[in-house]
């Protein structure tokens, strides 16, 4: 299994199948967190680039492909956030964005609009400690199971359960935190 997973980084056919299976989910995952179409497109590229670098880290025993991929996406995103932070401090102008045509932009904006409620939910979660927020995000907003969320974060399922419970207790009364966001 591990061999097969590493194959997605070396075999273009295996990679294409993997990419087509997950590119939509990854785009939506990012649109729930970032509201600019160009940045979303850049991040999709970075996530799949990171997949090539870290395909060998996937362990089927520790969760589904999508859980692993969300873990990769989270890491990419926080690296992206770190970089944005650094750039804003250094006031460096970024150029050389991924070229998007108007259809691309329209489709991405649609996605981003559709994920609006999720982004509002993030705002409500902003007060939680990082560890709890991470679990709650993946379970409530990205619709992973608790075990999958644990795998994406590299923590034990028991730990994830405890954090989820604490997070929900803290945020009692926010409807989208108690339920799950549809779609």
């Amino acid at each position: 299994m591990r061999l097969k997973q590493a194959k997605i980084a070396t075999d273009p056919v295996a990679f294409e199948a993997f990419y087509r299976r997950h590119v939509d989910a990854v785009t939506r995952f990012l649109a729930r967190r970032v509201d600019d179409p160009h940045t979303v497109a850049d991040l999709v590229a970075e996530v799949f680039m990171a997949v090539l670098d870290s395909a060998h880290t996937y362990r089927p025993g520790l969760g589904s492909e999508i859980a692993w991929l969300y873990g990769v996406a989270r890491n990419t995103l926080s690296a992206e956030r770190r970089r944005l932070f650094k750039q804003s401090r250094l006031a460096v102008r970024v150029s050389g964005r991924r070229p998007l045509d108007s259809d691309d932009v329209a489709r991405l904006e649609e996605r981003i609009d559709a994920e609006g409620p999720a982004r509002r939910a993030f705002a409500a979660m902003a007060t939680l400690p990082e560890g709890e927020r991470a679990v709650l995000e993946l379970v409530v907003i990205d619709q992973l199971t608790v075990t999958e969320a644990a795998a994406a974060l590299g923590i034990r399922p028991g730990t994830a359960k405890v954090r989820l419970h604490r997070a929900r207790r803290t945020l009692q009364g926010s409807p989208f935190v108690m339920e799950g966001t549809p779609g």
């Binding site: 990679f15 087509r20 999709v44 590229a45 799949f48 090539l52 070229p99």
Partner: protein, 207 residues
């Protein structure tokens, strides 16, 4: 063409380029290994750990049911893990550069007590599961219970000059049996690297 299709094309090009780079590096390493083998054969006649063998390692079954692992080159750790798994041992193999080691919190060591002497260490489950012998390690599946993992760490030795009077030690070894899955290897400096008196002088690192 949508940006998703465009991106897919870019990524496939990237994969092709990476594959090409990997093949070039592979050829260079193979050439280097042959040179090392020749030089070593000319100098001494003791077991050659970096011989002219093309396989990075050899795994064979001993008559008593234990598994013989001989490492010739520090590569293909993943493949070695798979081969051991196929022979019934869940193992994690890490190769580490001279002066480095994996940080010692890989997991809870089975029958936990810390051996403080080489003699005590020889009685531990970890030692019985993976005994260094000659140019390799004898792995005994009986001591790696189901669900546990044998963590094998090989450190290259940068002192490659010892002659026949003292056995050539081209690597240093640490083997522990941990409960469940081990944590990944986090490379740290080995504080004892320069005190190392030889493989028999003290228990293997990690004991």
């Amino acid at each position: 063409m949508s940006f998703e299709e465009h991106l897919l094309m870019e990524l496939k090009t990237e994969i092709a380029e990476r594959n090409q780079r990997r093949r070039r590096v592979g050829r260079r390493l193979a050439a280097g290994a042959v040179v090392t083998g020749l030089a070593a054969a000319a100098a001494i006649a003791v077991p050659l750990l970096t011989g002219s063998e093309t396989r990075a390692y050899a795994v064979t079954r001993n008559a008593d049911g234990t598994i013989r692992v001989e490492v010739n080159e520090f590569r293909d750790a993943d493949k070695l893990e798979r081969d051991l798994r196929a022979m019934g041992v869940a193992a994690k193999v890490d190769y580490v550069k001279p002066g480095k080691m994996c940080s010692r919190d890989r997991g809870e060591i089975v029958d936990g007590q810390k051996a403080s002497t080489w003699k005590e260490w020889r009685k531990s489950v970890s030692y019985k599961a993976a005994r260094p012998r000659g140019a390799g390690v004898d792995v005994d599946p009986a001591y790696v219970a189901k669900g546990n993992t044998l963590v094998l760490e090989f450190t290259e030795n940068d002192d490659q000059t010892s002659g026949p009077e003292k056995p050539r030690v081209l690597w240093r070894f640490s083997g522990t049996v941990v409960k469940g899955e081990p944590k990944p290897c986090v490379i740290v400096d080995d504080p004892e690297w320069n005190d190392l008196g030889g493989p028999e002088a003290q228990p293997p690192a990690g004991s």
